[in-house]
Amino acid sequence: LAKTTQPISMDSYEGQEVNITCSHNNIATNDYITWYQQFPSQGPRFIIQGYKTKVTNEVASLFIPADRKSSTLSLPRVSLSDTAVYYCLVGPLGNKLTFGGGTRVLVKP
């Protein structure tokens, strides 16, 4: 599985856009990039998934450059309730999930 590197923590303020970049230099051809969110004492929750270019849903956008060696999760106009740990996962579809340490995002008022 591709090793991922993401910042340990990030602080932001309500209403701002939060961008979390994940590095995955040894991503394989059949690997997809998926982001999960986890609130304290809750199970992880799927946010978004992509293979290349840009993916957008009602929650976030995922930007993947042509070389696919990194990806950026963008959370528009965050609120206090977006305070959570965000995980970048890279691997083939239909497989076990391998979580790293994630990025702890703190949204301040």
């Binding site: 998926t34 199970g43 992880p44 998934q49 076990k96 999930l97």
Partner: protein, 115 residues
């Protein structure tokens, strides 16, 4: 929106005792998983289950662990003889796994405390 449920939310047991953690996956899902998260650490994969058999397991999932789908709705994780280091949050997850998505739906977890 359908969701994965888990019971109990918190289980306290003594070392050496057997525990069974229960999960009800989303009804039309076919693939089931158990993960655990020791306090302050990463979420770790334990086992995946499909068509009434284990499809993959991690090195954590040793002979003390077993999984079962006793009926059409429940999915259980049994730890035969608990150890202090089994204290963790245990998450059940399920997916349709149509090979078009990596999306697994997680339950709220069971906090297991071994004393």
């Amino acid at each position: 929106e359908p969701e994965v449920t888990q019971t109990p939310s918190h289980q306290v047991t003594q070392m050496g005792q057997e525990v069974i953690l229960r999960c009800v996956p989303i009804s039309n899902h076919l693939y089931f998983y158990w993960y655990r998260q020791i306090l302050g650490q990463k979420v770790e994969f334990l086992v995946s289950f499909y068509n009434n058999e284990i499809s993959e397991k991690s090195e954590i999932f040793d002979d003390q662990f077993s999984v079962e789908r006793p009926d059409g709705s429940n999915f259980t994780l049994k730890i035969r003889s608990t150890k202090l280091e089994d204290s963790a949050m245990y998450f059940c997850a399920s997916s349709e796994r149509d090979y078009q998505s990596y999306e697994q739906y997680f339950g709220p977890g069971t906090r297991l405390t071994v004393t």
